[in-house]
């Protein structure tokens, strides 16, 4: 048993900390809320130069050959300043989906420029009414000559407004709810039949509602077998939420502690009030517990599918409960200032709310793992 970081991993973390401090303090996320894209191509390129997007990909496609664990170490640090670039969307969601399904040529063509920080990607897996169920897909794919045409609507596609390529799930057969018949397609930005509506999300970022009206698409991998890959990338998204959430909680905890240490009322520092002290301690406890299960999620990203699902569901349930607790208590302990848009706390609060609602909320994950055979294997 070993929870120490390797020297390479430590260096990675330090690089990310430096990046956050020098290139992307929280003020950047605040400012980019007003931006139409919501993130910055120059920063994205810099992240590419740092090699971050290459981490989990094999050398054959220009990757570094590392593991998801390294990616998540970065994600944790990015969480501390809410770095808004589409790192998780491009690397862990669409990127891994392409890696798992695409031909060598597709991998090279679609992943290469993303790894370099020249393009970004998005995964369009969910639809209105599918909530968190990746099998609940109504979008249909039909062969049209050598290519495919997609018809349907994808909902709240993270980074869908800016991505150079979308990875879209669609049915080549079967009915919503069935695992068989799900396929993945690459759809280029501005391809014919694609109508992208930008939507603003609470956390100051953007997503898209993507209407597909016979949209030109290329099949990734073989038709009808994408369910397992969709499960995997959704689990990776959940693990990333755990990592980013851990970074957020740590930040909010210490921001709150600092406030308690300095804010005076009734002639004393409010941090002397025992009731507030105990609540800060509970924030600390939840932060530590969520950090612990975020490590769990990170380790289990490469476990066999059933173990991965079982353990990541537990971690995401913990993250959601702990994360909401920490940012809500943090707000209350800040008093009035915490509900002003001017204070950074609200940015973390909102991002945490988003992380809770993405990749399966607490109920979803509790129901998922408690319905698996492991739950009753006594």
């Amino acid at each position: 048993m070993d929870f120490e970081l390797s020297n390479d991993q430590k260096m990675l973390v330090e690089t990310a900390q430096t990046f956050v401090k020098k290139e992307s303090p929280i003020g950047r996320a605040r400012k980019l809320r007003e931006d139409e894209t919501g993130w910055d191509r120059a920063a994205w390129k810099k992240m590419g130069d740092l090699g971050w997007m290459s981490l989990p990909f094999p050398e054959s496609v220009g990757g570094f050959g590392g593991t998801f664990a390294e990616v998540l170490l970065i994600v944790d640090q990015l969480g501390t300043a809410l770095v808004p670039e589409p790192f998780v969307e491009s690397v862990l969601l669409a990127g891994i989906a392409i890696l798992r399904t695409g031909t060598a040529e597709q991998q090279e063509r679609l992943l290469g420029p993303m790894i370099a920080g020249d393009t970004s990607l998005a995964l369009a897996a969910l639809e209105r009414g599918s909530r968190y169920d990746v099998t609940c897909v109504d979008t249909r794919a039909e062969q049209r000559g050598a290519g495919w045409a997609l018809t349907g609507e994808k909902y709240f596609v993270l980074n869908g407004h800016a991505a150079d390529h979308l990875v879209v799930s669609a049915r080549t057969s079967g009915e919503p709810g069935e695992r068989a018949g799900l396929s993945l397609f690459a759809v280029a930005k501005g391809a014919s039949g694609v109508h992208t509506q930008r939507v603003q999300t609470m956390d100051g970022r953007h997503a898209a509602i993507v209407k597909l009206d016979g949209a030109t698409a290329e099949l990734l991998g073989s038709a009808g077998t994408a369910a397992d890959v969709l499960d995997e990338v959704m689990d990776l998204g959940a693990a990333a939420a755990c990592a980013e959430g851990a970074g957020i909680m740590r930040t909010v905890l210490w921001m709150t502690v600092e406030y308690l240490r300095t804010r005076e009322q009734f002639g004393v520092k409010i941090g002397t009030f025992q009731a507030l002290q105990h609540r800060a301690v509970d924030m600390f406890i939840e932060t530590e517990l969520a950090k612990s299960t975020s490590i769990l999620a990170s380790i289990k990203t490469t476990a066999p599918a059933d173990e991965r699902a079982y353990e990541i569901s537990k971690a995401k349930a913990q993250l959601t409960a702990s994360g909401h607790f920490v940012v809500r208590e943090g707000t209350q302990l800040h008093g009035g200032i915490g509900v002003t848009d001017e204070h950074d706390l609200g940015l973390y609060f909102k991002r945490m709310q988003a992380l809770g609602a993405l990749f399966g909320d607490e109920d979803f994950h509790l129901q998922r793992f408690s319905s698996m055979p492991q739950f009753t294997a006594l």
């Binding site: 909530r131 002003t340 001017e342 909102k350």
Partner: protein
């Protein structure tokens, strides 16, 4: 013991409902239907309609325009307004400075201010908190110095001056004696917002709406006739205000609306092709919130029934602010969870989510303030510990 309303009260409720249904302008009704955001002008239009009907100040004595209702009628009226989703009126004139002027003001002050508050011709805001005097209000530092010519000269800063950008007047707590102990040198002063030297800067809440302001006062000259109550006696007025209409602060009506909305969303939303309301986890969470709401509602009924009989508010009423504000927050947390990923929509074009879900996210954020404003729940707990439980201070 009886929970039913008398036939007279039932008839009154019907009258109120019918009037609201016909009086609320169509464009406001459309917003009300989806719990949308009302602009200041919307609020004042509704204020004036209620004023014209004579229903705008239920808690005022009849002599100054009140309708002469009993406690139950006031409760019914307030609940009907909340349930129908009509614009929430600005409380600063009607509920706060108005009653204080009625209780402590001079005849001239009453004549000058009350009719315009009633008619909605003058809008008020509140100047209590300062950057270093929030929970610890008695630490306030804004000064009002006697200029020897019949005026105070006011210097300092107020914050959380909600909707000061729309206000014609502000009622303030100011320090008139800097030598005596904290609470004792404070006075209650009315200030015309058009006076030179006042600067208002609105700022956004986390809900994305401009509800709060910072307000600066630089050598603002205020005639002494605007002092309400005795010089240095402002703390008494501030405390008196806290006693007013405690039974109306549980937000039961608002919470009921949100609960109904949550059920509606859960009926309309599908997950894996099934109605979300049929998801046992969601249903139980909603049920649990209904239980909590019902318990506050009952506590509110008890307080109300006591008020109806002329009893002073009992201990049960002191819990209403704490739990009411917590429950409304939890209701919005639940609403967000029921909406799922779509809950993240943020001031988008119509159609991204159903219209009645559009503003849930904004209010979910803003409502975090409910446990902070009006005396934070921590302060409320301190007060209950001391005043009701009799726990010792150090």
């Amino acid at each position: 013991m009886d929970m039913s309303f008398s036939p007279e009260h039932l008839a009154f409720r019907e009258e109120v409902r019918a009037w609201i249904a016909q009086a609320l302008p169509e464009d406001l009704a459309t917003i009300a239907k989806v719990d949308g955001h009302f602009e200041h002008t919307d609020v004042m239009r509704w204020h004036k309609l209620l004023a014209a009907k004579g229903w705008v100040a239920p808690q005022w004595p009849q002599a100054v325009g009140g309708p002469g209702w009993d406690a139950t009628q006031r409760f019914i009226f307030s609940q009907e307004l909340e349930l129908s989703g009509t614009p929430m009126l600005s409380p600063f004139g009607l509920m706060m400075v108005g009653p204080l002027i009625i209780q402590f003001g001079s005849p001239a002050q009453k004549a000058r201010f009350l009719p315009k508050i009633f008619a909605g011709e003058e809008v008020w805001c509140q100047g209590y908190s300062e950057p270093n005097a929030g929970s610890d209000l008695a630490s306030l530092q804004m000064r009002a110095d006697d200029d020897g010519q019949g005026n105070f000269v006011v210097n300092g800063q107020k914050t959380w001056t909600t909707y000061a950008q729309y206000a014609d007047w502000i009622f303030t707590l100011v320090r008139t004696d800097t030598t005596s102990k904290k609470q004792q040198g404070i006075s209650f002063l009315l200030i015309d917002m058009k006076t030179p030297g006042i600067e208002v800067r609105p700022f956004l809440t986390t809900g994305g709406t401009p509800a709060f302001c910072e307000t600066w006062f630089e050598n603002v000259v205020v005639p002494k006739e605007n002092l309400v109550g005795p010089l240095h006696g402002g703390w008494t007025l501030a405390k008196a205000l806290l006693g007013h209409e405690r039974t109306l602060i549980a937000a039961v009506g608002q919470s009921s609306r949100v609960l109904r909305r949550v059920k509606k969303i859960a009926l309309e939303t599908t997950a894996s092709g099934k109605r979300l309301l049929d998801d046992p986890a969601i249903r139980l969470r909603i049920a649990k919130m209904e239980v909590k709401l019902r318990s506050i509602e009952m506590a509110n009924f008890r307080a109300l029934a006591g008020a109806q009989l002329g009893h002073a508010p009992g201990p049960e009423s002191s819990i209403l602010k704490i739990r009411g504000s917590e429950v409304i927050q939890q209701m919005f947390e639940l609403a967000m969870d029921v909406m799922g990923p779509a809950s993240l929509t943020w001031f988008n074009e119509p159609g991204v989510v159903p219209a009645d879900q559009e503003f849930v996210g904004s209010t979910f954020n803003y409502i975090r303030a409910s446990t902070i404003y009006g005396g934070s729940n921590e302060i409320q707990r301190n007060v209950i510990a001391k005043m009701i439980l009799g726990l010792p201070s150090k």
